[in-house]
Structures are given as C-alpha cells and as structure tokens.
C-alpha cells in the first residue's frame, strides 16, 4: 500500500480544514512517511517526500511567510529569502492522486468556475474556497506557461486578502528583455525579504547560497539525463514524472541537491534494465489518479526515457548576479513565448534520446499544451518520430476514459513494434 493510499484511507471523508491545519495531522503524515508501509521506488523519493511534507507542514502551520508559486517561479528566489514556497498546481496533483479531486473541483463549480477551465486550477480553487489550502502571504505568478495561474491566483488573492505579483516575462529575443525581467525578480525579492526581515546584504547572501545549491543540483540532474540517454537506464518516466515537484519546488534547497545526488547514485548502482525497450517521450503531465496507461506501456515493452516537464532547460547561474541569472533561467524556458520554441526543444530531445515515439497527453482545459499539440506533433514527425495525442484530464478522474485511451495507446504501440 502506498503512502497516499494509506493517508486517503485514514482521512478521506473526515478531512476538515481544521484537520489539515493541525499539528496532529502532520505528525500522522510524517509518521506514515517513515513507516515500513511507505516503500518508495527510489531512495531519493524518501528525501523529496520528507522535504515536501516538512515544507508543506510549515506552510499549513504558518511557521513562516508562505509564497504561492506557479510552475515557472524559480524556487531559488523564495528559498533564498527564507520563505516557504508552495506550488498549488503540484498540490492539486497530490489531491488527485489521493482520489480527492472531484470533491474540490465540484466546489469550484459551485462558486462559479466553469468546467471548461483547467482542473488543476479548479481543484486548487475548490480547496482554497473550503479552507484546505495554507494561507498565502504572497501569490507570485509567472505569466507562463499558461494564463490560468495569474488568473486563479488573482481570485485567491482576493479570497485571502493577500497581495499578488505577476512577473511579466518578455517575449524571447527582445532587447533588454532579460534586464526587465531581472528588475521584476529583484522587486519580488525585495517584497520577500521584507517578510523575512532581510537587509540587502542578507538578501544577496541568501540568493547566492540558493543559487549555489541549485547549480550543484543541476550538475546531478545533467548526469541523470546522460544516464537516461543510455539504452539500459532503469528510470522510467512513470516514476520520473513525479520529479516535477522537485524540479519546480526544491531547486535552491539542500533536499533538492540530495534528491538528484541519490537518484544519480542509485541509477548507477542499479545498472542494466535491458536494451530492447521502445524508447518514448511523454509530453505534458500524466493522470495522477491512475497507473493504467503505464501498465499498458510496460505490457508492450515501452519505456518513457524522457519527459517534457522533468528535464533541465537552463544553464548554471551566477550566484554573484542572481537576478540576471534567474531571469535567464525563467525567460529562457521553452514554454515561454510561441510554440515553435517548445516544438523545437522537444524535437531536439527526440534526437538526444534516440526516441522511437512520443505521447502528448492533452490535459483538458490546458490551452498551452492542447493548443500547441498539433504543431509539436508536426515538428516531431518531421524528425521521423511517430506521435500520439491522447485527450484526457490529469486531475479529474471522471473525465478519464481509460478503455478508450488504452485502445488508442495500444494501437500506437503496435505500430511501433
């Protein structure tokens, strides 16, 4: 039995806002995480689990300034300022994996949010409306990869009476674009340092430390990526995809570095997994509540050797020049700007990883990923990579037609044999 299943069995139906804001609840979660019941797939998973439980507990118990962030907010900025980063999109994935998303999605609908909006955000909004989220001191959103975060954060800002900052990332290739974004990041850092009581020199020291750690983490991540390019690497995307929370939420922390260091070591130790698997890439994210698709992949001898969202896409940063460096990291992300950047980035991954096929999971309501899927498919097919687009929903299990999706996936895998 997995940890989330155990938490679900113990708490579902009895969860109240007071429960998740209580020390007893978090003590129980921590003890479950440590118990023999929790058998993570990789040693590194225990590190990330411990880190996220601790960080989330601190957020819920209000033990520091809580900063809600969307996917592209660099956690180095928040961690370096000794604030608690909270990524509600990731929280929605956890809620979905615990089978609790429908309740909160329905709550968001009752409040007036349309069923045509992204279910990550509806789930998060439902949780917030019912008091199940940690109270933010600041909502910090980057205007990419999608419009949903700045818009839903605006609602939450009003709900909690907390300020919202939106970082406007200029389009790629603009003169002074990096300098403008660096100025915005500095402004955000000054707000955060106000929460922490940091003066200018402490702010710069905090950021430098976080960026140093982030760079060391990135070096391990690069090593892992090289290992995954080999035929015999044992790390499969169904496990690696959970690493999105590590990549977005723990860069700049010691735990982030330890996670990738341990993962790297274990990958080297585990060695060969057989060389005859069909090498695939997964684009966008997975349905968090079901493993069905991955069972099908395994049955057909396919392995996800690379995933769109858990791959590094930035250069090591200069700790002495934090804002310019962080601006380059954020502004250089392939999800910023027109889809051609995303498409050409994914096509380059296809070459590097010697892919035999790719799967794009079209999450309902995601204008960013669904909207660009056809052009991504076209770019991959120009490289000779067969690409399957699967329509579904990452968070709302009621919108997931397992039989239909599996049939399409099976036909695709047959064609790759």
């Amino acid at each position: 039995m997995s940890l989330v299943e155990d938490v679900r069995d113990r708490f579902t139906g009895r969860l109240t806002p007071a429960t998740v804001h209580s020390k007893v609840f978090w003590k129980a979660v921590e003890s479950l995480a440590r118990s023999p019941l929790n058998r993570p797939q990789w040693k590194a998973d225990r590190v990330s689990l411990t880190y996220f439980i601790k960080s989330t507990r601190e957020a819920y118990l209000g033990r520091g300034p809580v900063v809600w962030c969307n996917l592209l907010v660099p956690s180095e900025l928040v961690i370096g300022m000794d604030c608690i980063p909270f990524y509600p999109e990731m929280a929605a994935a956890v809620v979905a994996s615990a089978g609790l998303a429908p309740r909160f999605i329905d709550r968001a609908t009752e409040v007036g949010f349309s069923q045509d909006a992204c279910s990550y955000h509806r789930c998060m909004l439902g949780c917030a409306v019912d008091g199940f989220m940690p109270r933010p001191d600041l909502l910090l959103a980057v205007n990419y990869p999608c419009d949903s975060a700045p818009l839903s954060f605006s609602y939450v800002s009003d709900l909690y009476g907390a300020p919202e900052m939106v970082l406007d990332v200029p389009l790629p290739g603009r003169e002074e674009g990096n300098a403008l974004l660096a100025a915005e990041l500095e402004e955000a850092a000054r707000v955060l340092s106000g929460f922490s009581g940091y003066n200018d020199s402490r702010m710069r020291k905090g950021l430098a430390e976080a960026i140093e750690l982030s760079n060391q983490t990135l070096a391990y991540l690069h090593e892992i990526e090289e290992l995954r390019k080999r035929d015999d690497c044992t790390l499969d995307g169904k496990d690696a995809m959970g690493g999105i929370s590590v990549l977005s939420g723990s860069m700049g922390s010691r735990a982030g570095k330890d996670y990738y260091r341990l993962l790297c070591e274990e990958l080297k130790q585990r060695g060969c997994a057989g060389e005859d698997a069909i090498r695939l890439m997964w684009m966008h994210l997975k349905p968090w509540y079901s493993q069905g698709l991955f069972d099908t992949l395994e049955r057909y001898g396919a392995r996800l050797v690379c995933e769109e969202y858990t791959h590094s896409c930035w250069e090591p940063m200069d700790p002495r020049d934090p804002f310019t460096s962080l601006a380059a990291k954020v502004g250089g992300h392939f999800l910023v700007g027109p889809v051609e950047r995303r498409a050409s980035y994914l096509a380059s991954l296809a070459e590097e990883y010697r892919l035999e096929g790719a799967i794009h999971f079209n999450h309902w309501g995601c204008r960013q990923s669904c909207g660009g899927a056809q052009l991504v498919k076209q770019a991959l097919q120009e490289k000779g990579i067969p690409t399957l687009i699967l329509d579904g929903d990452c968070v709302d299990e009621r919108e997931y037609q397992e039989g239909q999706i599996s049939t399409r996936l099976e036909a695709f895998l047959e064609s790759l044999r």
Binding site: S114, P150, L151, G372
Partner: protein
C-alpha cells in the same frame, strides 16, 4: 518586400496607430463562426472559438493573411502559432503585452512598438515619421469619437454591428447608418464579456426584449471607451505615450488590476441606468472563465442583478437561451 497593404488584427490592444502610420490597412478579423470545425486539425476544439473561427476563415481564403497579433492570452498566442506556421510567406508578427501597469511595463511596451515599427519598415520599406504617427493617432481618435456619437440611441445587435464596422473600416471612412436600433423598449441592461457574434447571442437578447445600452465587449463599446491619443515631440516620445495609453485604457479581464475593472463596470451600470448585467463570454476564454465569480460577488455587493450566458460564437443554441433571458428581464 510585400506589396499588398491589408493586415489582419484580432485583439483590441493592437496599436492600430502604428499600422495606419505605416500606410497599411488594418482590418479586424472576426472569422467565420459557422465553420469552426475546419480549424480542428490545427487547433484543439477546447480553444477559444473566436480564435478557431479566425483560423478557419483564413484557411478558407478569407481576409488578409498578413497579420499582427498581440500576446494577450493563450488563445491569441496559439492563433499566432498556427497562423505563422500556415502562412509562412506573409508578414505575421506577435506584439508583446504586459499585464501589469507601471513604468517597467510602459517601457517594455514602448520598446515593443518600436520593434514593430522596425519590422514593418523592413517588410514594407516605409518609415514612420513623427508627423505621420501623430496624424494617424488623431484619425483613430476621430474614429473613436465618431463611433461614440453614432451609437447614441442604438442598442443590442445593431450597436455591436456598428462597433464592428468602426473596427473594420479605415479611419477616414464614414461610418454607415446603423440598422434598426435593436431592442430599445425593454429593460436597459449592460452586456459584459469578451467578444460575441452579433447574429447570435446578442440578437437573442434583442428578441427577448432587452435594451442593451452598453456593450462592454472587446468588439463592442469597450474598445472605444478610452482615448489612446499620444502626446510627444518625437517618435520615441509618442510611442512611450501610446504605450501608457494602451495600458491605461479600459482593461479586459486578462489584465491585472481587476478591482479597477469592476469599478468601471459598476460606474457604467450607474451612468447608463442599467437595471442588470448580462455576463456573456465565449467558451474556453480563461480570462473570463476565472473572472466570473469575482464579478458576481462585486455585483451582488452593489445590488445589481446578473445573468450569466455562454457562447460558442456560432450560437446555434441561442433559441434555448430566450427563456432564461426573458425570465431575467421580467425579474428586473
């Protein structure tokens, strides 16, 4: 070097003054609401139907294929993606647009305008002068004032059609006489949302007996609500002023500062003596999907009745809405 001068535009944050000053003919694209499905092989069906209608019409050969887009929302960005892939030999350009007000955003936007000018000059070989930009800006302001004069006493679908004419016709053209003034015998209401098809949902409001006195849509009155006339002694000064004006205009739900937008909405309800608000938006427009609960809350606080409707742009279902609209109007 391109020879044809017509350039399609889509979002009301497009700096038309610059296109005019370049000697181009900007034409607002409204797409073909009746053939959305033909865009399905390029854009997912859960993308803004206006966006899909524009692409569908362009693929079928309608409207100019040179196009200037604004990076205002995911839908517009996706339309730019598909358009630039499909029409590779045409001038297809994306202008950035910050969400926030303030000096940094003004600077970014002014630089965007300058970059657009350079690209236009490169593609058409025409330089923009201070005098040319001022003249074009005055002509646009005249058009705005013309529209505001012409729409007096015009309601509903007729008013929306007039606004769309004012968008599409070159600034020097005389606006046509508005067709029948729509429903102006019923309860005065204010229509707010993103962009609607005058032949669809808005006509059904007329049929139900509403007097839609102000159309807070991006293809309606909102686009003419704020002046964008720049001031300055040289091109750089004018562009800085133009950027400030565009960021300061009556905002759409995509922009930051929602409270300012709600204040403007409530002020307009009061000034038009509207007895209720109809919130109608196109499906899959995130800016308006996420905005509704806060609008609802604010209008409740103000004691202003509200009805929410949804449009798929083709609006084949509008007959079904009549009963709801009639019931709402009776309640007013």
């Amino acid at each position: 070097m391109h020879e044809d001068n017509a350039v399609a535009w889509f979002c009301t944050y497009t700096p038309l003054e610059i296109l005019d000053a370049s000697g181009l003919t900007p034409v607002r694209h409204f797409g073909d609401p009746g053939s959305l499905e033909s865009a399905d092989s390029f854009l997912h069906p859960a993308i803004c139907p206006y966006v899909r209608a524009c692409l569908a019409a362009a693929i079928a050969g309608g409207g100019p294929h040179h196009a200037v887009f604004v990076n205002s929302c995911d839908g517009m960005r996706r339309l730019y993606d598909a358009w630039s892939d499909r029409f590779r030999d045409d001038f297809v350009y994306l202008v950035d647009l910050p969400r926030n007000p303030g000096a940094g955003s003004e600077r970014l936007l002014a630089r965007e305008y300058k970059r657009l000018m350079r690209e236009l000059s490169h593609s058409w070989g025409r330089e923009i002068t201070t005098g040319g930009l001022l003249e074009a800006s005055h002509a646009r302001e005249e058009r705005r004032l013309d529209y505001l004069r012409a729409c007096e006493g015009i309601y509903g679908a007729a008013r929306l059609r007039l606004a769309m004419e004012a968008h599409t016709r070159p600034p020097g053209d005389v606006l046509p006489e508005a067709s029948e003034g729509g429903g102006n015998h019923g309860a005065p209401v204010l229509l707010t949302g993103n962009l609607l098809n005058p032949a669809g949902l808005v006509s059904s409001l007329d049929r139900a007996g509403a007097s839609v006195a102000w159309i807070d849509l991006c293809n309606g009155d909102r686009a003419f609500a704020s002046p964008t006339l720049p001031r300055g002694d040289d091109v750089d000064g004018l562009l800085a002023s133009l950027a400030r004006s565009y960021l300061d205009r009556h905002p759409c739900a995509r922009m930051s500062e929602p409270e300012r937008r709600y204040d403007l909405l409530v002020e307009r309800v009061r000034s038009e003596e509207a007895r209720g608000v109809i919130y109608a938006s196109l499906k899959f427009c995130d800016s308006y999907l996420y905005d509704f609960p806060r609008v609802q809350k604010r209008l409740q606080e103000e004691g202003i009745p509200l009805l929410r409707l949804e449009s798929d742009y083709s609006d084949g279902h509008v007959g079904q809405l009549l009963t709801r609209v009639e019931a709402f109007l009776e309640m007013l």
